[in-house]
């Protein structure tokens, strides 16, 4: 079993979001970067769990990014990836990123490709679906559960107000979210071992972007909270009814 886990770097979840250069660039100074939590907690950890059940499993990691993403790739190797590939390419367009991963995936003949459901920075939720189409293999999105029985995968996927259970023969692309696995902390052995695990850097294939970000905006500031006394909760209900007209 060969699994490819796609990992992306995102600003730490507590990072202050601000922009520079006339609001065209994210203010990255002093920002701590992490593995996108959906990629790490759900996609990668589930791959590791599958490897624990079937030790013959090989986990490859792929990242599309500059050299500055290597610390997070090493962390993913410390958690339990076997090898990593970094495509030396920086882009904000999901199609050109997916095209890079598709090129890697075609070479690697993977049985299972896992992504997080979306990244915390651009929230495109696009890479998995694009990859599946570029590779002509099925795609199950927003998965909360994934089990393998030989070469058949059983996957639960979120729908409005519940879940859908489906099965598909491998190869398969699955985008992962909460429920799939639990966050892990790398242990010392993993951290030491990660230093010598292979991290291959490859140059990008040609892929024209389909979109370009022209600028960023911050949401307008709130006018301020209207506080109601704890002794008069009925006043809150009146405001919600008469002023905000919510019910």
């Amino acid at each position: 079993m060969k699994i490819l886990v796609c990992i992306s770097k995102t600003p730490d979840t507590t990072a202050k979001i601000a922009f520079v250069d006339n609001n065209t660039k994210f203010a990255a100074d002093g920002v701590q970067w992490i593995i996108n939590p959906y990629d790490e907690w759900y996609a990668l950890v589930r791959a590791i769990e599958l490897k624990e059940k079937d030790p013959a499993t090989v986990i490859h990691l792929v990242n599309v990014g500059g050299a500055d993403t290597e610390p997070i790739i090493r962390k993913a190797l410390a958690l339990g990836g076997d090898e990593a590939i970094r495509v030396n390419f920086d882009s904000q367009d999901s199609f050109s990123i997916a095209s890079q991963i598709a090129a890697i995936a075609k070479d690697g003949a993977y049985d299972l490709i896992l992504t997080g459901k979306e990244t915390l920075d651009f929230n495109g939720a696009s890479i998995g679906g694009m990859l599946a189409e570029l590779l002509d293999i099925p795609f199950i999105s927003l998965a909360t559960k994934l089990d393998l029985n030989g070469t058949i995968a059983t996957v639960s996927r979120e729908i409005e107000g519940g879940e859908e259970v489906a099965e598909a023969a491998l190869p398969l692309v699955v985008s992962c979210q909460k429920g799939m696995a639990e966050q892990r902390i790398p242990n010392m052995k993993g951290i030491m071992g990660a230093r010598t695990k292979p991290l291959k850097v490859v140059e990008p294939v040609a892929a024209d972007p389909l979109t370009a970000i022209v600028g960023f905006e911050l949401p307008p500031a709130k006018a301020g909270v209207k506080l109601v006394s704890a002794d008069q909760p009925e006043e809150l209900v009146r405001l919600l009814h008469e002023e905000a007209k919510l019910f």
């Binding site: 507590t14 915390l120 979109t211 370009a212 506080l227 909760p233």
Partner: protein, 320 residues
């Protein structure tokens, strides 16, 4: 030339988020002087001609028993064929669970740039620039779509559907369909609850409620006003509530008309998932809770004392 809107269904009924997409697509068609057409995939029990009320002129219905269960790949290919047949230059989908499954594949297939999570109509004065949420609700990006065909995933509850008069022409569309490679086994729905992603009103509880046994008041208030229930990450991690109720940066991201937070301090990660809500109400006993800074209304007080009184007041209002 047309704007094509994908109408997503659940059990043969049109989802609310699809009416939003239909209205949005119709407005965009008006703005770009083309026609709004819709595509419905699989069985439908709805009267599809009524999509005319939302500005749709023509509905392409692709009905085939192989399409009665959702499969991202099969649906993507069907919608791709309809896009080409009606020479659509824009495809609009709701950025809901199925939209997120279809839109990226469609983008790769048609080499059409995708803006997932759009919050307003495109600016077509110079290019095709769509505003979308980024950084998990903490900011917006304006994205220019460079390709001839454009795909927009519209954030649920970001655009109010406008119903007027009109009847759409419904035509059967004959698509070439390969058997789905994903086999549907079961659909498990939580009965009698409003799905969080579709909800206009949401009542949410946090660690301040101390345990799952205290969720009665959250559920009672939600029941009274027809709201969905949600929770913070700590609550889902402690298994007080199911994972699908978790909203926040690493859970669901929602933008309801009302987000009513009880016993949630409002950490930046939680705010990221809910700060696009139109009205935020916070009940917390800690006056320093960061959530008050993001709130529109608030009560500094003990939830266990305040909530029963809120519920009584709502009951009185509703005449119950």
């Amino acid at each position: 030339m047309s704007v094509l809107i994908y109408i997503d269904q659940a059990e043969g009924q049109i989802k609310k988020s699809s009416f939003e997409a239909a209205s949005y697509g119709a407005r965009l068609a008006e703005q770009t002087s083309t026609q709004a057409e819709a595509v419905v995939v699989g069985n439908s029990s709805a009267d599809l001609s009524m999509l005319g009320k939302y500005g749709i002129k023509k509905v392409h219905h692709v009905n085939n028993e192989m399409l009665n269960h959702f499969d991202a790949q099969t649906y993507t290919r069907v919608i791709g064929q309809v896009t080409e047949a009606c020479q659509a230059t824009v495809v609009v989908l709701s950025n809901n669970v199925n939209g997120k499954a279809i839109a990226p594949g469609l983008s790769a297939r048609l080499k059409a740039g995708l803006v997932a999570g759009a919050v307003s109509l495109p600016d077509t004065s110079n290019g095709f620039v769509v505003k979308k949420g980024v950084f998990s609700g903490k900011a917006f990006a304006n994205v220019n779509v460079l390709s001839p065909i454009k795909i927009i995933g519209l954030t649920p509850n970001a655009f109010s559907p406008v119903a007027g008069e009109g009847t759409a022409e419904v035509v059967a569309f004959n698509a070439s369909i390969d058997a789905p490679r994903v086999k549907h086994l079961a659909t498990n729905k939580v009965q009698g609850q409003i799905p969080l992603s579709e909800a206009e009103l949401v009542i949410s509880g946090g660690r301040g409620l101390k345990g799952s046994e205290n969720w009665g008041m959250i559920e009672e208030l939600a029941g009274l006003i027809g709201a969905a229930t949600a929770c913070s990450r700590a609550v889902a991690d402690a298994h007080w509530r199911p994972h699908h109720e978790h909203v926040g940066q690493t859970g669901g991201s929602i933008a309801p008309n009302l987000y009513f937070a009880v016993g949630i301090s409002g950490a930046i990660q939680h705010l990221a998932g809910v700060n696009r809500s139109k009205v935020i109400v916070v009940i917390n006993k800690d006056p320093e809770a960061p959530f008050f800074k993001a709130a529109d209304y608030g009560i500094v007080g003990d939830a266990f004392e305040v909530m029963p009184k809120v519920i009584d007041a709502v009951k009185k209002l509703k005449g119950a």
